[in-house]
């Protein structure tokens, strides 16, 4: 007799299960994160585009003084910090999905994901340091390039 003859046939009334994993697992959390962060990013990015590209002189008005004027306020520091973290994790997770879909072979996947995670972590760390250590009025800088709050 083979092993097959002892295979149990499931009760026909049991519902089909798409995956063995039920309840909370990392892929479900990743799916949920994409939706929650997505809604927040719509607000954050639309606000960012409206202030930087629509108001005033639009893209022509962006220079050091403009950025410094914004980051002098904790409101825009928090705004941009949230946008940085959520945007990079949301985007990184999206690219992870694309790699999973198209990269064949485990070595290729490992290399691409390694590069991806490296770029995401590096960019988040760099961006966070910039927001927290930024000085809107650097000593010795040309005063004509600085925001008005540096006067006096």
């Amino acid at each position: 007799m083979t092993a097959q003859s002892t295979t149990q046939i499931p009760d026909p009334s049991t519902r089909y299960r798409r995956t063995g994993q039920r309840g909370i697992n990392t892929e479900m959390l990743s799916w949920l994160f994409m939706r929650v962060s997505g809604v927040l990013l719509v607000i954050l990015v639309f606000g960012h585009l409206f202030v930087n590209l629509w108001l005033g002189e639009g893209v022509k008005g962006i220079d050091f003084a403009f950025v410094a004027g914004k980051w002098a306020s904790p409101f825009w520091q928090v705004w941009d910090l949230l946008m940085l973290w959520l945007g990079l994790i949301h985007g990184g997770n999206g690219v992870r999905t694309i790699i999973n879909d198209y990269a064949r072979g485990s070595t290729m996947r490992l290399v691409l994901k390694g590069l991806l995670y490296f770029a995401v972590v590096l960019t988040i760390v760099l961006g966070t340091l910039v927001v927290f250590t930024f000085d809107p009025c650097p000593v010795g800088a040309d005063p004509s390039l600085l925001p008005s709050i540096c006067e006096g």
């Binding site: 939706r35 997505g38 809604v39 990013l41 719509v42 990015v45 639309f46 585009l49 590209l53 629509w54 002189e57 639009g58 893209v59 022509k60 962006i62 220079d63 050091f64 003084a65 950025v67 410094a68 940085l84 945007g87 990079l88 985007g91 990184g92 999206g94 690219v95 694309i98 770029a119 960019t123 760099l126 961006g127 340091l129 910039v130 250590t133 930024f134 650097p138 800088a141 040309d142 390039l145 600085l146």
Partner: protein
């Protein structure tokens, strides 16, 4: 039955094309985001360095590129909201096709608002 005439290519219509556009726009936005954090980080180098690099964003080529970028961001955002509706709204899957055309309509409206204003910023007006 598939024939040479109809072909065997999957034709998912609005659902498929919105998925394709969502991937492409998402990939594009991610790559831009990496560059954008790097160029913004130049504020820690010096005001001159930042102004020099950000000045390129005001050139004609970049100005047109920004229209493409905003187009990608707006589509990805609106279609993302559509995906959330499809997932969480009980009627979402039934109306996914109409929702897609809603996304296209709102996207077009926002672009009609943005593009002339951006071109006026770019070329003076």
């Amino acid at each position: 039955m598939a024939s040479a005439q109809s072909g065997t290519l999957y034709r998912g219509r609005e659902g498929m094309w919105s998925w394709v556009a969502h991937r492409i726009s998402g990939m594009l936005i991610f790559l831009f985001l990496l560059v954008h954090v790097l160029d913004t980080a130049l504020v820690r180098v010096s005001p001159e360095a930042y102004n020099e690099v950000i000045g390129h964003y005001k050139s004609v080529v970049f100005g047109l590129g920004e229209i493409g970028l905003v187009a990608a961001v707006l589509f990805h955002a609106l279609n993302g909201l559509r995906i959330i509706l499809v997932d969480f709204w009980s009627q979402g899957t039934r109306h996914q096709r109409a929702l897609f055309w809603g996304v296209v309509a709102v996207w077009a409206l926002l672009m009609i608002g943005f593009v002339p204003r951006h071109l006026m910023h770019m070329f003076g007006g």
